[in-house]
């Protein structure tokens, strides 16, 4: 048992047990005319217990004698599940038929969602109220307490009214995040909406070509995009500075010099915005093209019959009918802008400057959590970002709400 990673196998056993137990048992219960949701719960519990117990037992007894024991241990969940399925008594009442498939599909997914998303989310909320670092040995319950003390709202208080370095870095990163998102959203919509309308107006055979070309950056690796734009903005060898020199202008250290500003925006922030927009706008473009294709032509024809010009048709027919799509793209763009990380980390790593000109909240969360191991402070920042995204999204939904369909 010492030659394999027991921790990993315990995880595999639990996951397989949960999947098999929660997906097959509801079907069995349904066939026996019993509540499939109860079956899912019982199957989940029995599957996990059986998988862990018999998986461990198989390794303990067989591993040193037979190399296939590790593979066999993955079937440990069946040891109790098969008798369970066999022992479920049949009911005469036919009250729950047809729900078995739904339950067997949803239950495993719910389990994975709970373990992979909900639990970490709740854990992050709890951590936000503790000065927690994994380096310190805390109390007996999940390492909380003692050397990882409960601090209540102290983290949030420090973020808003503190003058410590942590507070300054958070406030700067929040300002940068808001600046980034507030520039990205209108620019993105200003580019994608007219471009989608233009692409819709070209010949049918050319449309797929344009769609493919504009969508290519979206499927490109963010790191690759960041490296490419990093070279374009490179102070000494960058394409942009070569062009500036060709026109007799002074080269700029776009990504390095904290003193340089373009239209009041730090040059480095300008550079990452350009890179981010280049990669991201194809996504919204495709959504807008799809939305434009769904607008009934009869509505536009009716406007044209009434004497509307192409611009008037766009402004008074197309644009209002795109409102739900604009709402969706705005929300998605805003959320992704708040979560920007990879492009900035590769291009500037939050710099230049001591108070990073492109330092954003997610980058601060990453640094604090994984570099400085201040998980409590990082979790508090993550919680603030979550609430901010929630508020902005709610506001956008309210502002762009519609009460009609076409």
């Amino acid at each position: 048992m010492d030659t394999i990673d027991l921790q990993a196998y315990m995880l595999y056993w639990g996951m397989i047990g949960a999947l098999v137990g929660a997906s097959v048992t509801p079907l069995v219960y349904d066939r026996r005319h019993r509540n499939p949701w109860t079956g899912a719960l019982i199957g989940l519990f029995v599957g996990v217990v059986s998988a862990e117990a018999f998986g461990w037992l198989t390794l303990r007894l067989l591993l040193e004698r037979w190399s296939g024991a590790a593979l066999l241990s993955l079937l440990g969940c069946l040891v109790l599940l098969i008798p369970l399925w066999w022992s479920v008594p049949e009911r005469s009442r036919k009250g729950f038929q047809q729900r078995g498939f739904v339950s067997s599909s949803i239950s495993p997914l719910m389990f994975y969602l709970l373990t992979m998303s909900i639990f970490p989310f709740l854990w992050a909320i709890i951590l936000a109220f503790f000065d927690y670092s994994p380096r310190r040995v805390g109390g007996p319950i999940l390492g909380l307490g003692e050397d990882n003390p409960f601090v209540g709202l102290a983290h949030f208080q420090e973020m808003w009214v503190g003058h410590t370095r942590n507070a300054r870095m958070f406030q700067n990163s929040m300002n940068n995040t808001l600046l980034f998102a507030m520039i990205i959203l209108p620019l993105n919509l200003a580019i994608t909406l007219p471009l989608a309308a233009l692409i819709e107006s070209v010949h049918e055979r050319l449309k797929p070509l344009f769609r493919a070309v504009y969508f290519l950056p979206v499927v490109t690796s963010s790191v690759g995009v960041a490296v490419m734009w990093g070279y374009i903005f490179h102070a000494q060898y960058g394409l942009l500075n070569q062009a500036l020199k060709a026109f007799g202008m002074t080269p700029i250290a776009w990504l390095q010099d904290p003193r340089v500003e373009i239209l009041g925006i730090p040059a480095a922030m300008f550079a990452v915005i350009v890179a981010y927009l280049w990669q991201d706008f194809g996504y919204n473009l495709i959504i807008f093209i799809a939305a434009l294709q769904n607008i009934p032509i009869s509505l536009k024809d009716a406007a044209r019959v009434d004497g509307a010009s192409p611009a008037q048709v766009f402004l008074h027919v197309t644009l209002p009918l795109l409102r739900p799509t604009i709402m969706v793209t705005s929300v998605l763009t805003m959320i992704s802008s708040f979560q920007v990380f990879d492009i900035i980390q590769v291009m500037t790593n939050g710099g230049p400057g001591r108070i990073g000109k492109t330092d954003v909240v997610v980058l601060e969360i990453y640094k604090n959590a994984f570099r400085y191991e201040r998980m409590g402070w990082a979790a508090a920042m993550a919680l603030v970002l979550f609430v901010l995204v929630l508020l902005v999204t709610t506001a956008q939904r309210w502002l762009l709400r519609t009460t009609w369909e076409y």
Binding site: P134, Q256, D257, R259, K367, Y372
Partner: protein
């Protein structure tokens, strides 16, 4: 249905009980199985495996399995596994991190401590493993970032300068550096003396404070003293070199044209960096040329009588508090690090600076070491002048997010020397809270 389930549960309990008792027995009595974690780095892993093989050959009842992790993953694994108690028995650890994990590490067993001579190791590297007066691990290597510089032979010869240089003072170094600076279209393309990588700046700052007779700690090491007259003099020295034009702080720093890469791509003539960069350059830039022919590694001039410097405590081994065999694990740690033959094996395989004095000072060992790593000839005489940086509340935060950015801002003209010293002192001391 419930009767059946109860029967199955009883059967399960019986089987588990039998299994829990049966296989243990006599066979496990003498055998000790240990796990060792290390970060992935070819020569380091080869050296540790060779030490494991040597130890297990002497102790046939002990088996040690090494598991390696990519560097970033290694740090994250330590962060998550240690609180969960899943860590290996023996852990390769950077000395400077040790005390932040002290609660989770087994101290040296009393019987071993009774015969142990701490002066066998250089102070700079051993002190990182001492937490609350208890030894929590032992070092393999001496981590040195200040004391010597890479010099580019071609650039020196083109500028008509002697090679390798022997600077008696800083003015001579700056004078040489200025002769090798190159600019194009108003931008610096070759730096004369590149000392603006994060580690280079921070360790220069600490070394200059020490060499000027100051200290960056208060007396009982409970607070920093970064705004002393010596600290301000050090910052003024950096500023004077930048103002003279040896390096452009916007185009040459840790994010842009990092020193190691700048040197091996002919963008810097003199670069302040640790001796490990020689192996890095030979490996990553094989066309650059051989050590001793295309480039060399020479000592920096000292400001005072002694070339004092501060150093991190290097890589070594620690033992988990959760290990079921801490005595055996500690025995291996001592075998691998405190035995001169084994320490030499590690240092020659990895090209690292010895932490054990005997390896650096005994003529035979020293000859073998220099045969494997000739660049160490420059640094071996400096080792006794090194001191451990001290147990900071958060070393990376102080180094990379406080000291370095403030100094770079000052060099870029965004704040005065006095302001930089005052802000560094204030923010660094706030890390104690």
């Amino acid at each position: 249905m419930f009767k059946r389930l109860i029967s199955i549960a009883v059967l399960l309990a019986v089987v588990l009980g039998v299994a829990g008792i049966a296989p243990r027995g006599a066979a496990a009595q003498e055998e000790v199985k240990l796990r060792l974690w290390a970060h992935q780095e070819g020569p380091f892993n080869d050296a540790i495996q060779a030490l494991i093989d040597a130890y297990t050959a002497e102790h046939p009842n002990v088996s040690i399995e090494m598991e390696t992790f990519e560097y970033e993953l290694y740090i994250q694994t330590l962060q998550t596994a240690m609180p969960a108690g899943d860590e290996a028995d023996i852990i390769e650890m950077f000395g400077t991190w040790t005390c932040s994990y002290a609660d989770r590490l087994a101290p040296m067993p009393e019987a071993m401590a009774a015969d142990f001579d701490p002066t066998a190791f250089y102070q700079a590297t051993f002190d990182g493993y001492v937490c609350d007066d208890a030894v929590r691990g032992l070092p393999f290597e001496f981590n040195m970032e200040y004391g010597a510089v890479l010099v580019n032979k071609g650039m020196f010869e083109t500028a008509g300068l002697d090679f390798p240089p022997k600077w008696e003072n800083w003015d001579q170094l700056v004078e040489d550096a200025l002769k090798m600076v190159q600019t194009q279209d108003g931008q610096m393309t070759v730096a004369g003396y590149h000392f603006l990588s994060a580690d280079a700046v921070v360790f220069s700052f600490l070394a200059e404070i020490l060499q000027r007779g100051g200290n960056y700690w208060n007396e009982d090491q409970t607070a920093f003293n970064f705004d002393s007259p010596e600290a301000i003099a050090a910052l003024e020295h950096f500023k004077s070199m930048v103002d003279a034009g040896v390096v452009d702080p916007v185009l040459f720093n840790d994010d842009a044209n990092w020193g190691g890469d700048a040197f091996f791509t002919n963008q810097a003539a003199i670069v302040l960096i640790g001796p490990w960069a020689v192996a890095y350059g030979l490996d990553s830039f094989p066309d650059f040329g051989a050590f001793g022919e295309a480039f060399d590694y020479v000592a920096l001039p000292a400001l005072g009588d002694e070339p004092k410097f501060a150093a991190d405590s290097g890589w070594g081994l620690v033992v988990s508090q959760n290990s079921a065999a801490t005595d055996v694990a500690w025995d291996f740690v001592q075998f691998a690090t405190a035995n001169a033959d084994n320490a030499l094996l590690f240092n020659t395989t990895t090209g690292t600076i010895p932490a054990l004095r005997e390896v650096a000072e005994n003529e035979d060992y020293r000859a073998q070491l220099l045969e494997a790593s000739p660049q160490l000839e420059t640094v071996l005489p400096l080792l006794p002048y090194g001191s451990y940086i001290g147990n900071m509340p958060d070393r990376d935060l102080v180094f990379y997010d406080i000291v370095y950015p403030y100094i770079l801002d000052m060099l870029q003209g965004l704040m005065s020397v006095e302001d930089a010293a005052a802000f560094i002192n204030e923010d660094a001391n706030a890390t104690f809270e």
